[in-house]
């Protein structure tokens, strides 16, 4: 670990989001520019994990001032170096602007997106170089593991985690300390800990970002868990589609082994721990714990009935503790700051924070960590900056293919595990997809069911056959070919599958259908009875667009965007749409400057 003195640290986010918006080129450019002004010995460049504000990538933060630059282009780097780094003048034009006030905000902790967040799990994400164990240790990393191993008994660790109220962040919300206790008490000469990083929900990227941004925190959490339950070996099961997360985790494990933070006799306590990575091939069902273990064993990833639970009979028949990435990442805080400090955050039965991946029709797409008990309104409108293009909020889908929709009426509900369940949604892993008025809820249900249907492993009949039949009905509804009684059949099937499927995938697969049926039944009925898709999404049901001749100014914008050349007319007079040719894509209506185009 080299030690040199720098007057400034420039942090560049190289999470997957920013890399795809060009962060790597920004870094190369910055290196060139610093060299040009011979500043490379004074200013250090650090690649970090995700800052969460993926919408505004590529992102750069300049310390010591903590100035936040966003949406950078290569030529902006020249300006930043010449103005800010050389002359100390903040480049106003590249700062973040609050969408409502148009005000430039230099310091990133003052931006609305960050202000309402409370960061435990993501504390270091975007602040440290994830490939430097030195930076993690410099911020007090691995001290929680040291404390647990040298000053606490395994039972004391379990008791602390129990008292903190930490619940599993993978979706179920089972009390983590209790789970550890079961595995601790189970008889066995060999035990395992597993980290479930098989994140597969559409729109979810919490686990990936944690592994990419702060891998040592997860390793530290796993060391503590292994010590508590008496395991000497662990696996991180991470999908092969996460190459950056895997390479950073590999580097982290290597560095930890070198400093003997993994291996034999850790902290002189006599405790040994070896950590392996198992790359999954990307089957959604492998996020189910018994399927995941089968996959590690080299078998086909299929679930088996429980009990016996993994805590009794897990990997290779040995007692095994499985937790999600985010759960482990909370553990160092709990041990270091104590159960009470953790329990002070959150609601009565859901303690701490939750990381959500915000996606969909929202201004600030990204990763946020908020205290339990915050309302959806705060997440979507204060942190998320509201809906894109000023559209009307319709619903938010939480919990991915296993979750449900939440509508306007519940926006002010303080969210935690239990409140979400009470309104037919679930915490799930934390994917949050925001939908606007132009979203067809039947189509959304069809999308998720299509996903789970594809990912069904086929072992049990309710899931294999049942979801297939449900999907056929949804396809019929969207195509305008619904039959009498389809809605009732759909509902009955949903309940049967929920009650009889073998594993979590099947049992929760009908949730998106049930929840949209509950809140948007009239949309289903409009599809079936009136042959109409109110949101104008389902092509087979969408009626063609028409131009109001009285309003049309003859600008011709619509002609240019029509993909099927259905619009004709004279410039500066008026235009007309041929209903026969129109495919109801809506491109013309979006483009029209005077709102003369609407669906008939």
């Amino acid at each position: 670990m080299d030690h040199s003195i720098y007057r400034s640290h420039v942090l560049i986010c190289t999470g997957t989001g920013c890399v795809s918006s060009g962060a790597k080129n920004i870094k190369v450019k910055l290196e060139d520019e610093l060299a040009r002004f011979s500043l490379n010995k004074e200013i250090k460049i650090i690649e970090t994990g995700c800052h969460g504000f993926c919408e505004k990538g590529p992102i750069m933060i300049v310390y010591p001032e903590g100035v936040f630059y966003c949406q950078l282009e290569e030529e902006d780097v020249v300006t930043i170096v010449e103005e800010h780094l050389l002359k100390g003048r903040i480049v106003d034009g590249l700062l973040y602007k609050e969408p409502l006030t148009e005000e430039s905000i230099p310091a990133y902790q003052d931006i609305d997106f960050y202000k309402k967040q409370e960061r435990i799990v993501l504390e270091n994400c975007g602040k440290v170089n994830p490939e430097s164990i030195g930076e993690y240790i410099g911020l007090g990393g691995y001290e929680a593991a040291g404390k647990a191993l040298t000053t606490m008994t395994p039972l004391e660790v379990i008791e602390t985690v129990k008292q903190s109220g930490l619940r599993g962040r993978g979706g179920g919300g089972f009390l983590t300390g209790l789970k550890w206790q079961f595995t601790h008490t189970a008889k066995g000469d060999k035990k395992y800990v597993i980290c479930n990083a098989d994140e597969g929900d559409p729109g979810a990227f919490m686990d990936r970002s944690i592994l990419e941004g702060d891998p040592h925190r997860v390793i530290e959490g796993m060391i503590i868990a292994a010590y508590a339950i008496g395991a000497d070996e662990g696996y991180v099961y991470v999908r092969a589609e996460y190459p950056l997360a895997i390479s950073r985790l590999e580097k982290a494990i290597e560095d930890a082994e070198e400093l003997e933070l993994l291996g034999q006799d850790l902290f002189g306590s006599g405790f040994n721990f070896k950590l392996n990575i198992k790359k999954g091939a990307g089957a959604f069902v492998c996020g189910e714990e018994t399927a995941l273990m089968a996959s590690i064993e080299g078998k086909r990833g299929m679930p088996r009935p429980r009990p016996p639970y993994p805590s009794v009979k897990g990997l290779w028949g040995k007692p095994t503790n499985i937790n999600n990435v985010e759960t482990y990442a909370n553990v160092p805080f709990v041990i270091k700051e104590g159960a009470a400090a953790f329990a002070a955050i959150g609601t009565a039965d859901s303690k701490g924070t939750k990381v959500f991946a915000l996606t969909g029709k929202i201004n600030n797409t990204g990763l946020v960590e908020v205290p339990m008990g915050i309302t959806l309104r705060e997440i979507i409108f204060d942190i998320g900056g509201g809906l894109t293009d000023g559209k009307e909020f319709k619903a938010v889908q939480i919990g991915g293919p296993s979750g449900g929709c939440i509508t306007e009426e519940n926006l002010d509900l303080p969210i935690d595990y239990d409140s979400l369940k009470s309104i037919g949604a679930m915490m799930g892993s934390g994917g949050m997809v925001v939908m606007d008025e132009k979203t067809c809820m039947v189509d959304v249900a069809r999308f998720f069911l299509n996903f789970t249907q594809n990912e069904s492993c086929g072992k049990c009949t309710p899931c294999r056959e049942g979801t297939k039949r449900m999907l056929e009905i949804l396809n019929r509804i969207c195509e305008g070919e619904a039959r009498e009684g389809d809605l009732e059949l759909l509902e009955a099937l949903a309940h049967h599958i929920k009650d009889t499927a073998l594993c979590g995938l099947g049992q929760t697969a009908p949730n998106p259908v049930l929840s949209t049926l509950e809140y948007f039944r009239e949309e289903y009925e409009a599809h079936i009875n009136e042959q109409k898709c109110p949101a104008g999404v389902c092509n087979a049901l969408a009626s063609s667009y028409q131009i109001d001749q009285a309003v049309c100014v003859g600008c011709g914008m619509c002609v240019k965007v029509c993909p099927v050349d259905a619009i004709s007319g004279k410039p500066k007079e008026s235009y007309d749409i041929d209903a026969e040719l129109c495919i109801s894509c809506g491109a013309c209506a979006d483009k029209c400057p005077v709102d003369a185009i609407s669906q008939g």
Partner: protein, 121 residues
């Protein structure tokens, strides 16, 4: 890692490399790095400041600023201690840096012969 103490010792060594990224209020040293400052030797002053801070394990923000018009008195260096007036030192030589840091930054006594102004922020 043989013990928790060993880890803590390692942390002591490593934490100053990352202390810059802490967002709390810290003493600030601002160096005039306009063309005039650089021509008068501000870069050497900056280097001396960084070395002195590292040697003494101080948690101080070092930043730079452009020309403030007193080109005659460059190199200029301002010290902003939390809750105090900003003090400007001028006509500096590399050897003066040590005095400013020891006498003013650490002990709070203004180095009168080097100070040229102090003003409210």
């Amino acid at each position: 890692m043989k013990s928790l103490e060993e880890l803590k010792e390692l942390r002591e060594k490593l934490q100053k490399d990352i202390a810059m990224r802490d967002d709390s209020e810290k003493p600030k040293i601002i160096i005039g790095m306009g063309t005039c400052g650089i021509a008068a030797g501000a870069r050497n002053i900056l280097q001396a400041v960084l070395e002195e801070i590292d040697k003494r394990n101080l948690d101080i923000v070092v930043t730079q600023t452009g020309c403030i018009g007193m080109c005659e008195k460059e190199p200029l260096l301002d010290v902003q201690l939390p809750g105090k007036k900003r003090v400007t030192y001028g006509n500096l030589e590399v050897n003066d840096v040590k005095r400013i840091i020891v006498e003013y930054v650490i002990n709070g006594k203004i180095v009168e012969d080097l100070a040229i102004a102090h003003f409210e922020e």
